[in-house]
């Protein structure tokens, strides 16, 4: 069977300054018909460049320096731009990462979809619109004939991505290239989109290249997976082989650093990959992975291993794969660092009672026209308690109010009403009225370390400032310097980092500095809003371990917000699930992960793609999108999407809080016993 597309010894170079740097080195891969081929790698691995490069779509400063791309009877490398545009859209479809920005904001959906089939299939505008409707119908978009008249910003993220997929498939291309198509979406929407891609690819008998950093979605969607590191193929194999019997030390390390891997082995720490990926300009001359490889030998540092075919479609670039395959060699990355464990202590660091927050979002236009918008309820009567030395994990889709709650507690947004207590001290809702003692004990770690660190300050200045500002006593310069060094060491950085500026640090290092700064005041509670979501999995593992260690050492507690349920389940003692500004369930980690659970929690868990192709994906799917806070549903706020909807009672009556004897709380009309039965 002839492959749909085949890259042979492909190299892509970028010009940076006066030098040409290899981004993609000697990559060969092929995609067979009706196959979904996963391309996985961390940031900087070149996976997007390769994905786009296969379509001959490259940045202005990049070019294909070597190799061929065989597609149909052509070598795409040799085609002119005009010839390529006859293949783009017609034979190779593309689904991008960010659907909103990838649609033209000022043209209707119908118009944008129709121009594809008008151009490639020669349909009239009217027929093309009809075709667009039909294509949308296959993606289960409600009311396609209304959707084609809308503009992109009037659709939700999930709908926009369905439009992109429908559009790409409307010309029945033979190959679809998807570049991180679900990264911008909530896990619930992601599950729906993945189902859809799976189904449509089968229906259309098309092949696909699925580019992603997310091992979970790769495992659930793809037939064959290629692992890219530093612009080279490290391993390529059918999905089950790759996840169950990986042979390359990098693949093995990557899979082991996933939080779910730790959960599976009841491990309390994540295994990590030492060091960071090399930058483009300092690629090692031997094996690209050698500086970080736990089983590297002398030869690895000098000679580049070839890409070898082992058995049944399994390709490897490693000198020692035979030893690994035979079981003589086990490349294990021991979890480095301390191994202290803590369990929650009685007594509360923080209690938040009946927190309410409304926003009145007036647009500029509204104000000009003298309209006052209805206030939007962001938090409705939210109460949480955080034990000493514990981690509270907060989950929910975007729009669930989890970030608002964190901001209200830190004081970045002032809550309308409610009581806050930190270490039995009352906390004013207004940040300006909080004393130094409160500020010192309540610190925040942001999602994006780039925004959190002042680019014009060295690490020393950044941390030193916080120490001086919040110190209880006046410190001598030597004391401060010692604190800074101690803090840097506690987050695994050497003293040499003190003189660096943020732009000289990698993403993981920046986040470590941000963590060091948060701990500089010896706080009682640290609020971390998605602190690892902008990081690669191998870096995430390091940060999660670090957070655990620091908690043990300093006796601090965390309020940890994440959209990633696996991370929450790895780290949290207590889990709170929020939906539309309300808490729908809370309990210990075990309680929340097992039946009985709130139907919303059940749906969230079912949507998580497990990085294990043998685990069947969950089947519970939420229809529709999370309602905007302006149209919060009556009764149970979840009733518009609930798979276990009971009837009028859910629509009309606010469900009661049901609590079992262990403090596990669920807000639902279905009694706990019945829920348990339904779910087991």
């Amino acid at each position: 069977m002839l492959p749909v597309i085949q890259a042979k010894n492909l190299s892509i170079e970028y010009r940076i300054g006066k030098r040409w740097l290899n981004v993609i080195q000697d990559v060969s891969l092929h995609i067979d018909p009706v196959q979904i081929h996963g391309l996985v790698g961390e940031s900087g691995s070149g996976k997007s460049t390769l994905g786009m490069g296969l379509m001959r779509y490259l940045a202005n400063n990049a070019w294909i320096s070597q190799g061929e791309i065989l597609f149909d009877t052509y070598d795409l490398v040799k085609l002119s731009a005009a010839e390529m545009s006859k293949i783009h859209g017609r034979h190779i479809g593309f689904v991008p990462q960010n659907p909103l920005d990838s649609l033209n904001p000022s043209l209707t959906i119908g118009n944008q979809m129709a121009e594809m089939t008008q151009l490639h299939l020669g349909l009239s505008h009217k027929d093309a619109l009809k075709r667009a409707c039909e294509a949308l119908e296959t993606t289960n978009i409600p009311e396609p004939d209304a959707v084609i008249r809308r503009y992109p910003h009037q659709l939700s993220g999930g709908m926009q991505q369905r439009v992109m997929i429908a559009m790409a498939l409307s010309t029945r291309p033979r190959l679809l290239i998807l570049d991180e198509p679900t990264t911008a979406l909530d896990v619930t929407t992601q599950a729906v989109i993945l189902d859809l891609v799976r189904e449509l690819m089968k229906e259309e008998q098309a092949a696909a290249l699925y580019v992603s950093h997310d091992l979970g979605t790769i495992a659930q969607l793809c037939d064959v997976v290629t692992v890219l590191y530093s612009g080279e193929v490290m391993e390529s194999a059918p999905v089950k082989t790759l996840f169950k019997k990986p042979l390359h030390p990098y693949t093995i390390g990557l899979l082991a650093s996933l939080p779910s891997a730790a959960a599976g082995q009841n491990q309390s720490r994540l295994s990590t990959i030492a060091g960071v990926a090399p930058s483009l300009s300092e690629r090692p001359s031997g094996c690209a992975f050698a500086p970080r490889c736990p089983v590297a030998i002398a030869k690895c540092h000098t000679d580049k291993p070839p890409l070898e075919k082992t058995t049944d479609n399994h390709f490897l670039r490693c000198w020692r794969w035979q030893d690994i395959a035979s079981g003589d060699l086990i490349p294990k990355n021991p979890p480095i660092g301390k191994r202290e464990e803590t369990s929650p202590q009685p007594g509360y660091v923080l209690t938040a009672q009946h927190i309410h927050k409304t926003f009145s979002e007036n647009s500029l236009l509204d104000r000009l026209m003298g309209k006052t918008a209805r206030p939007v309820q962001a938090l409705a009567d939210v109460s949480i308690k955080i034990n000493q030395r514990s981690t509270l994990g907060l989950v929910g889709e975007s729009g669930s109010g989890k970030t608002t709650l964190a901001r209200a507690i830190v004081g970045l947004d002032t809550a309308d009403s409610g009581d806050l207590e930190l270490l039995d001290m009352p906390v004013n809702l207004d940040l300006d009225k909080r004393g130094k003692e409160i500020l010192r004990n309540l610190r925040l770690i942001f999602q994006n370390p780039n925004d959190a660190l002042n680019p014009y300050r060295t690490v020393r200045e950044t941390i030193g400032r916080t120490i001086t500002l919040l110190a209880q006593e006046t410190l001598s310069p030597i004391n401060i310097e010692n604190r800074i060094i101690a803090l840097l060491e506690s987050v695994g950085l050497t003293a040499a980092y003190a003189d660096r500026y943020p732009q000289q640090l990698s993403g993981g290092e920046k986040q470590r500095v941000a963590i060091a700064r948060a701990f500089s005041a010896k706080p009682a509670l640290i609020i971390a809003d998605e602190p690892t979501s902008s990081l690669d999995v191998s870096v995430q593992a390091v940060i999660l371990n670090l957070l655990k260690d620091l908690r043990a050492e300093n006796g601090a507690s965390y309020l940890f917000i994440s959209h990633d349920l696996e991370v929450i389940r790895y780290l949290a003692d207590w889990i709170v699930v929020m939906y539309l500004g309300e808490i729908v369930e809370q309990g210990t980690n075990e309680q929340v992960s097992q039946a009985p659970m709130h139907p919303y929690t059940e749906a969230l868990l079912s949507a998580v793609p497990m990085p294990d192709p043998t685990i069947k994906p969950g089947t519970i799917r939420l229809t529709g999108d999370i309602p905007g806070p302006r149209n919060k549903p009556t009764g149970c706020p979840f009733h518009t999407r609930c798979p276990r909807y009971l009837g009028d009672i859910c629509r009309d009556e606010r469900p009661p809080l049901r609590e079992d004897e262990h403090g596990h709380v669920i807000r639902c009309h279905i009694p706990l016993e019945d829920l348990k039965q339904l779910q087991s």
Binding site: F94, N104, S106
Partner: protein, 315 residues
């Protein structure tokens, strides 16, 4: 939509009313007695009294304003203070017509050229073509209008004789005659506008070209022209639309220098003359009309903006 339109038109009317009041109030603070200023030092008291009677200057200030407003709305714009006291309305409307024609012609020349240059510069960002266009548009903006005007007159009117050096407009002029008169002043004004609009279009295009939807359009296989003109340009031009509206205001009242160089009978020179001569009835009418055109152009620009940009909804 309708409600928005009604609101905007009402706003426009209020603006006009307020402007007319301000102009009216300001003219009252001119030093000295208007009648004496107009008639001269040697005028007899009787002549002055007659003048005051004739133009209603003896009435109270609010009354004068109400009278003026009533007259203006019913088409009686009063009489000029100048020799022979000609009626204001035909005089001003005549000038308004001339100015509108010149403005329209200027935009017709400058906007397409500027947009084309801007698009070309953006598509060839950081190449010699881009630098050349930037250099030209910058230097052209910097050139004083009278210099451009005089150079153009010397070459094309006095030298080659293709166009008229001065603008004597007669009733029986046909299109050819109009072109001979309009071309040089319009080109002079265009120089300034092309400079601005080119740079704005270039910046807008460069911004838009970086956006992911352009990548989508290319990967849909659309021909290059369609990508640029259907997808990118309409978004890139949004800021330009507002600037074009503002430049209409400038063309109506702000090109006095050009009007003087070419002796063009437009609103700008009329305005200046009215101020010099303390010719209040003319001044009032001219200012109100300029403000009206300016505000109307802005309203139309906003409507076009909203039509091109569905993210802004009017209701």
């Amino acid at each position: 939509m309708i409600r928005y339109l009604v609101r905007r038109v009402l706003l426009l009317l209020i603006t006009l009313l307020v402007t007319s009041m301000i102009v009216f109030a300001l003219t009252q603070f001119l030093p000295g007695d208007i009648a004496r200023l107009i008639l001269g030092r040697d005028a007899s008291p009787e002549a002055i009294e007659t003048f005051r009677q004739e133009f209603g200057l003896n009435e109270s200030l609010p009354m004068q304003y109400v009278n003026w407003l009533g007259g203006f709305l019913t088409g009686n714009w009063g009489k000029s203070f100048a020799e022979g006291n000609p009626s204001v309305r035909p005089l001003v409307l005549d000038r308004l017509g001339n100015s509108l024609i010149l403005a329209g012609f200027t935009l017709l020349i400058s906007v397409p050229i500027a947009i084309l240059l801007g698009v070309m510069a953006a598509l060839r960002e950081n190449t010699w073509l881009d630098s050349l266009i930037s250099l030209l548009s910058l230097s052209v903006v910097g050139l004083p209008e009278f210099v451009t005007g005089i150079v153009l007159i010397n070459i094309f009117a006095l030298g080659l004789g293709w166009f008229e050096a001065t603008s004597l407009i007669q009733d029986d002029y046909n299109i050819g005659d109009w072109l001979r008169i309009l071309t040089l002043p319009a080109i002079t004004a265009s120089f300034v506008l092309i400079g601005y609009i080119t740079r704005l279009t270039r910046a807008g295009m460069i911004d838009e070209l970086k956006k992911p939807y352009v990548q989508t359009a290319i990967l849909k296989g659309l021909p290059f022209c369609q990508v640029i003109f259907k997808h990118v340009l309409r978004n890139a031009l949004l800021p330009t639309i507002t600037v074009i509206a503002i430049s209409i205001g400038w063309l109506m009242g702000g090109i006095v220098v050009i009007e003087n160089v070419f002796n063009f009978p437009g609103m700008g020179s009329l305005l200046v003359k009215a101020v010099e001569q303390k010719n209040l009835p003319i001044l009032q009418a001219v200012v109100v009309l300029i403000v009206f055109i300016f505000a109307a152009a802005n309203l139309i620009a906003d409507l076009i903006y909203a039509a091109l940009n569905p993210r802004i909804r009017l209701n």
